[in-house]
Assembly symmetry: D2
Homo-oligomer: 150 residues x 4
């Protein structure tokens, strides 16, 4: 599927909003790629983000997947809109271990109000990728007036 963004300046807008997500800096996630309907977010492995077995906590991987989905949807929204997560579901496929995790999100449906995205997280270890989790998420376009309510 190929998408034409309504806002030609979509990448700068996504990067500004991502930079305003203070949790991304806290966990060390960075925006790796922004394209129409697609966003990748990367997270370096850190011991202080792990669960009881030493793997990245599923919630932390979900944080990255959710932001990737939200910004994938946001690339296609009008210049003055905000984006809001309505819901997401994650299936955990394998332990998130390695040097880093990359979450790759893409828009499946871009509606006026509701967008649906899927995202997959891959753990990278010694140059090999392993599929560790998969998300489907529903995102909402929030008109400017309500933007603070996201």
């Amino acid at each position: 599927m190929s998408f034409v963004p309504q806002d030609p300046d979509f990448e700068a807008r996504v990067r500004r909003s991502f930079a305003a997500q203070r949790v991304m800096e806290t966990i060390g996630a960075r925006l790796a790629r922004v394209a129409p309907g697609e966003v990748d977010v990367e997270l370096a492995f850190r011991d202080d983000l792990t669960q009881q077995n030493g793997f990245l906590h599923a919630g932390i991987v979900s944080t990255v997947l959710d932001s990737a989905c939200g910004y994938a949807a946001y690339t296609l929204m009008p210049a003055d809109a905000g984006v809001l997560s309505i819901e997401f579901k994650v299936n955990l496929l394998a332990p998130a271990v390695g040097e880093r995790v990359i979450a790759r999100a893409r828009v499946v449906r871009a509606g006026r109000t509701i967008s649906v995205c899927t995202a997959d997280a891959f753990a990278i270890r010694d140059g090999a990728e392993r599929h560790v989790s998969t998300m489907t998420a529903t995102m909402m376009t929030v008109p400017t007036r309500e933007n603070a309510g996201g």
Copy 2:
């Protein structure tokens, strides 16, 4: 529904495993309550855990909800088992703002291999609670041998 734990020492076991989730210390979450089939986890609001509108990021709230679900299931598991998240889904109901968030999880089905839990997160502000998100999660009992594979 009322549950009788197989392991009378369930609370100490849950507390040990929670203490081993290094991400909980990183985000400042604490185990507020442990009972058979029920666990509450509390998270103080912190600016460095927010998304672009200044609310707690949905992924961070999910991190707390997922751990609450996992440990609710874990209270009912055999003494030598491990617990593993298979999947979870979150619906975001309202912005997570306030002084703190409390995630309350309870077991809906406790099977030999598969358990199902639900959890609700409430934001607490000036003494009032607001329901901000709801999760359903599937947890797996992992025999000791495979415990490291969680």
Copy 3:
């Protein structure tokens, strides 16, 4: 939680729309109860609705859960609105066997555009109820003009 419907005639409106769901007659489901923010739908067990082990197919139970959720949300919508399922998730807890299944749905969040509902299905056998599945669903209020698009 208690809700005050915007449309005092909500029950008749729900009953009319349910009657227009032709699949409900096909599978033999009936509207058992309509209250503000709550709807129960009942389905008699039938051999021709089963999966390979002789239980009601999870998709058929989901059909009833989804309609119960949709109409629970619909009780709180304006008189001229339509209702649309955005997404739902079901956890299967036990085999759906017995004389009949009852799906009980309730609204968790009633927003202007987005509502969230949960529903539980119980199998009834010899007078005893067993919890067989649980759903969370997102419903959308569709303004009249777009009503046909539900």
Copy 4:
């Protein structure tokens, strides 16, 4: 991803089990394709399977998606195993209208106990396909002894 079935006779096994799902005959669904880790199920549009706007009911489309996922997982299971749906989530993308719907499922993770599948449903109208819904599902391998418990 390419899979090697443990049971060379997987297709006959899937077809036998599908034929035992009486609901498939009731709604008129048929097994359109069986390959290692992949199954397609087709459903002809019928007025008696519709919701209030004349579209196929989301629960009926989910019935077909769930069976497609279950049998995709089942192609990779041992000859004497049974398959059980643990949970599924569906996002509804567009109205299911047209001449027929095809659900295409594939295995994302094939574990010893737990498999994860995704499936997409497409409505076919005048030869054109439209993506109408997407599912992720968790399936469980049930050893023979417990097979009746599916």
